[in-house]
Amino acid sequence: MITYLIRRILYAIPILIGVNLLTFALFFVINTPDDMARMQLGMKRVTPDAIEKWKQQRGYDKPLLFNSQAAGTKKLTDTIFFQKSASMFIFDFGYSDDGRSISREISTRMFPSLVIALPTFVVGLLLYITFALLMALFRGTMLDIAGVTVCVILMSISSLFYIIGGQFLVSKLWHWVPISGYAGGMDSLRFILLPVLIGIVSGIGASSRWYRTIFLEEVGRDYVRTARAKGLSELRVLFRHVLKNAMIPILTGVVAVIPLLFMGSLLTESFFGIPGLGSYTIDAIQAQDFGVVRAMVFLGSVLYIVGLILTDISYTVVDPRVRLQ
């Protein structure tokens, strides 16, 4: 198990190097720092001095890969690649355009993101599985058909509609909760209620339908027939046997997402003014803050790989047949 984990972590390193090289190529090779400076300062009437100053402020005034003017190991370390890309491996993300430390920003903004994402995820998952089980229990009846129809309609609605509609209905028309904003401590409950609710509702269609398919695939298996032949009730078969076995495919999708919860949701956070990582990213995109976008890309892929490893581990927990070699 431990050797497996070590191997998986070692395997993650080349992937992260790949991600790093990709972002490096995207941000520094396709467009040189000069282009970025010109873009941010406005296209016309940009003096070379202004560009130089912009680059110097952000540390982009170094050579890309190899600094022939520096001495010793500085030849490699005093470059954009080493300082902007390689340093991400020790989670040193540098500074955003407004001069704040990106790492510190990430650590403070992580919590609000989680406060929204975690309840949405947990409550949502329970709800979706319940719906899917109900549809599986009544499979083939009008109830099931109606359920699937509703799911298809719900998943055809844009997530933007859920947010805009929900804000309008719950906050503006009924005045139940504030439209947007965030506060620390117990006071935050008021603010997180609506985003969590909307997050859950917008996922119902696609997820319930997906879990229903998984359940139905399990229901067709031989062991289910055996369990019925033994005289077990349909409910007992569903909960004791089908649910447990269906956990394996469900986990594949679910566990991989857990680490990414830290990243928050771009849309929800920006609509509700939650000071989390999602709104941080969206602000950075809109302000064209390349440093922050780069940092978030790297962080996202690290979390994704952590998710993959967690998925493997969770298999051994729910499925005793799986041994990690």
């Binding site: 083939g140 844009s158 997530s159 139905l216 990213t281 809109q286």
Partner: protein
């Protein structure tokens, strides 16, 4: 009238795709074993009705993809000069809908503007009131009195004419089909009571009524109101369809060759080829989609700004940006299909007929193209159709985030983005958002239902005997 054809990049892509679809359809028609799953699809009532609805959207999109520039009046020096504005056949068909812009917001079917203004009365006084619209209901002499009656009359006429045309079309189709099969029309209909044909004919008639209603009303009113700068929302929504279709289809076209070739190669050759290809798609898929798209689009903006000289008009620039967006979306979304295809190829290569061809010394390239490729095509088709609706929805979100299409391109995303603060107005301006979301819902819902039907017809794993 003289005009010059303008071929935008996405137009080329769309018509390329159309050609591929037509040639592919003809090719399949010649081969009964390939036709089988399609016949299953044609028997699905939900699938065929949604296909009919989709085809209306596709027709709008295609008409909107034929671009041209009108020739300006000759100045006498013999040189043809063309207007800077690029129009499409669709623009010409809808006629005045495009040019009849009001001053600002107006509600659906309204005759008065949304905001009060100072109006000069004939007596010379200024009065603060809601002014009449320039075009919406301009023919009414006494709007307060005649408005409701006129709307009702025009709706009825529209429904009737539309329904009449629809009925004519239905009768024509039925009689042609009946004559060809050599049975009386009544018998022909009765024999198809439970087949999708009847449902499709009913849908056709209903859609004809709806189109008649909207067409007749839009001659005199803004059926879905006007937006902030007074543009007709119905026109904007219809124009958005093309962008949605481009994103949903061209993206797939762009990514398909990569996913197909790499996926099959990885599964078939295994060894280091597999390792390299797996590495590539793991790297790409480990970056969260939105972030990769955001990063790529930001960089694309820088490139476009740098090379402003590439484009002779702003519409070309917006179009190239749309194409780039498709490319980027394709790069981020091909990994899923690639993984599926790799798995399938891994399974196929162990089958006897592949082993036999290997034993006979058939070259790898030939095995890939003759034996593996045809046997994974159903996966490709299913995933292409399934991806379509997700891509249409993604466009709206991306445009909202600011990494979507060019702000000057008509799309559901830009429509929603421009209207997002309108719900906060008092009285609220709901019609732009409502129209954008409704059009999207119909398009995506039809696409989803059609995708389900395609999957049911093509997936060999599904049992076709019992319940799903």
């Amino acid at each position: 009238m003289n005009f010059k054809l303008v071929m935008l990049w996405t137009d080329v892509m769309i018509f390329l795709l159309l050609t591929v679809a037509i040639v592919g359809g003809w090719w399949i028609m010649q081969r009964p074993h390939l036709l089988l799953p399609w016949q299953r699809l044609f028997r699905s009532r939900v699938g065929m009705v949604s296909l009919l609805v989709l085809s209306v959207f596709v027709a709008t999109g295609l008409l909107d993809s034929l671009h041209y520039r009108v020739a300006l009046p000759d100045k006498g020096n013999g040189q043809a000069v063309y207007a800077a504005e690029v129009l499409s056949v669709f623009d010409t068909l809808v006629g005045d809908l495009r040019s009849q812009t009001e001053k600002t917001y107006s509600a659906p079917l309204a005759v008065f503007l949304y905001a009060k203004e100072s109006i000069e009365t004939p007596e010379g006084n200024t009065l603060r009131d809601y002014p009449r619209l320039k075009y919406g209901g301009a023919h009414l002499l006494d709007p307060e009195h005649d408005h409701a009656g006129d709307v009702a009359k025009r709706s009825l006429v529209g429904i009737f004419v539309g329904g009449f045309c629809g009925a004519l079309l239905v009768i024509l189709i039925v009689s042609v089909a009946a004559v060809r099969s050599g049975t009386p029309a009544g018998v022909w209909i009765k024999a198809r009571k439970n087949s999708p044909v009847t449902a499709m004919l009913v849908t056709l008639a209903l859609m004809a009524m709806l189109i008649g209603l909207i067409a007749n009303l839009s001659g005199a009113y803004h059926v879905l109101g006007t937006d902030k700068v007074g543009q007709d929302v119905l026109y904007l929504s219809l124009k958005s369809i093309r962008t949605g279709l481009v994103i949903g289809t061209v993206t797939t076209l762009v990514m398909l060759p990569f996913a197909l070739f790499l996926g099959i190669a990885a599964g078939y050759f295994r060894g280091w080829v597999d390792d390299v290809i797996q590495y590539i798609y793991t790297v790409l898929s480990s970056i969260p989609g939105v972030l990769l798209i955001a990063a790529a689009v930001l960089m694309m903006q820088v490139t476009i700004e740098k090379h402003a000289g590439w484009f002779s008009s702003s519409i070309e620039r917006a179009d190239l940006r749309l194409l780039f967006l498709c490319l980027i979306l394709g790069v981020t979304s091909w990994t899923g299909l690639c993984r599926l295809l790799r798995g399938e190829a891994l399974k196929l290569r162990e089958l006897e007929y592949i082993q036999a061809s290997q034993a006979f010394g058939v070259s790898s390239l030939r095995i890939l193209s003759r034996h593996i490729l045809p046997n994974v095509m159903h996966i490709v088709l299913i995933s292409v159709v399934m991806d379509f609706s997700a891509l249409v929805l993604a466009e709206a979100v991306l445009s909202y985030v600011g990494v979507g299409v060019d702000p000057s391109t008509n799309s559901f995303g830009t429509l929603i983005n421009n209207a997002r603060l309108e719900m906060g107005r008092d009285p609220i301006v709901w019609w732009t958002l409502a129209s954008a979301f409704s059009f999207m819902l119909v398009l995506v819902l039809a696409a989803n239902l059609f995708a389900d039907a395609v999957r049911d017809a093509f997936d060999p794993r599904l049992n076709r005997t019992g319940i799903a």
